[in-house]
Amino acid sequence: RRYSDSGDKWDHEDITYRILNFTPDLTEEEIVDAIERAFKVWSDVTPLTFRRVFNVPGDIHIQFSEYDHGDGVAFDGNGGTLAHAYFPGNGIGGDAHFDDSEIFSVFLSDDDKVDLFMVAAHEFGHSLGLGHSSEIQALMAPFYIAYDPEFSLGYDDLHGIQSIYGINSDPRPGDRYIPQRPQPSPPDPEVERCSKSFNAVAFIRNELFLFKGKNFWRMREQGKPLEGYPVEMGQFWHGLPPKIDAAYERHDGKIVFLKGSHYWIYEGVDMDPNYPRPLHEFGLPADVDGALPWGRTGKTYFFKGEIYWRYDEYENRMDKGYPKPIKENWFGVPNNIDAVFRHYDGYSWNTYFIRHRRYWRFDESLGQVDLGFPRNFGVDWMGC
């Protein structure tokens, strides 16, 4: 026995829960599904049932927050603490808080992302009265366990929860929880449309081009990708490699693509001669995260990690005093972006920054990110 219990438990078996808000990393459907799967881990092995309630108090309130979020136990930004939860009881008792500085994902075990199902299953163990287990492999061990498609509750966790609530008296045979992982299938670009971030986004000839892997989507109106897309980039821009880092339309209408330590220039779909050329000709480092042409000023901003440059396309040289820290002039914009683009919505120009599946709208007149951001890019832009 390595589990610990808090001594607190619910005095009823039909537990209610309420989701107070959602992380912009995932669609609501993905979040609800991960939470349901996480509760099922415990309902499969106990008499407990879990029912979602709306607009009325529930036993367990679930929220995504950053830093200080009103319970006196502030979160610490990306990494470190991922979430916390409270043992059964009134008020905050049972509630589970997730650190929204993390990048939550589902069915992925990428190092830089946190699987919402695995974290939620652990936190709901606390919401039911379990403390941490010193069995390092147990779900209730305090350290994050990456998404495991074959996950099932270990003996220590099972023994712990059943010592509080008893066993599930009518287990259907083979009812032990196995996450219903989607069948592995070749990466379907249509699925990629909603489930992954983009390598680059560019506003070209008044249309939005969104690049991911070897494919791209086109869009004239926010939220309505054109029918018949994605299409392979190679069908348009011969000689261009997949997984580019950045792209933009230059003031003279030429299209610049950047990948790794090289860049390509195209006139429409035809590559200019003698390309690719080395990126250091711009005075840039090995590679960039994003490129942003600033209207007809001939200035182009390049972003990498925590810093950015401003390049003068007419003078063909980097402006003095660069690079600078992003946070110095782009208030609210995160570091390590995946893509950046400007878009005219028929009323005004805005600049948008994308990182993983979140995006931030930057108000150019105020010089800061608008309130209410980040939001989920797939939902707002890709019709997901």
């Binding site: 990494g79 991922l82 650190d99 606390h126």
Partner: protein, 81 residues
């Protein structure tokens, strides 16, 4: 209150002290305790952490112990006061 740099004995890293305190290994019931007392608390807290996770109980902030402390984790204490 977490140790500040100036009053922590040289071998106590404030990050480790804060971690051990946050996750329940140090009963910070007497923030005014003497430095010696804090040093004793610190080493016994490391030993408790090592015992909890079946690491060699050296009482020292060795590499294996500090690596485990660096892993992303749940914010709830390990030791329920």
């Amino acid at each position: 209150a977490p140790l500040s740099e100036e009053d922590a004995p040289s071998e106590i890293t404030t990050g480790a002290f804060a971690y051990l305190s946050k996750y329940g290994y140090i009963r910070n019931d007497n923030p005014q305790a003497s430095t010696i007392r804090r040093l004793e608390d610190y080493h016994s807290a490391i030993r408790n952490f090592q015992q909890f996770y079946r690491l060699p109980e050296t009482g020292q902030m060795d590499e294996e112990t500090s690596r485990l402390m660096s892993y992303p984790r749940c914010g709830m204490p390990d030791v329920i006061q």
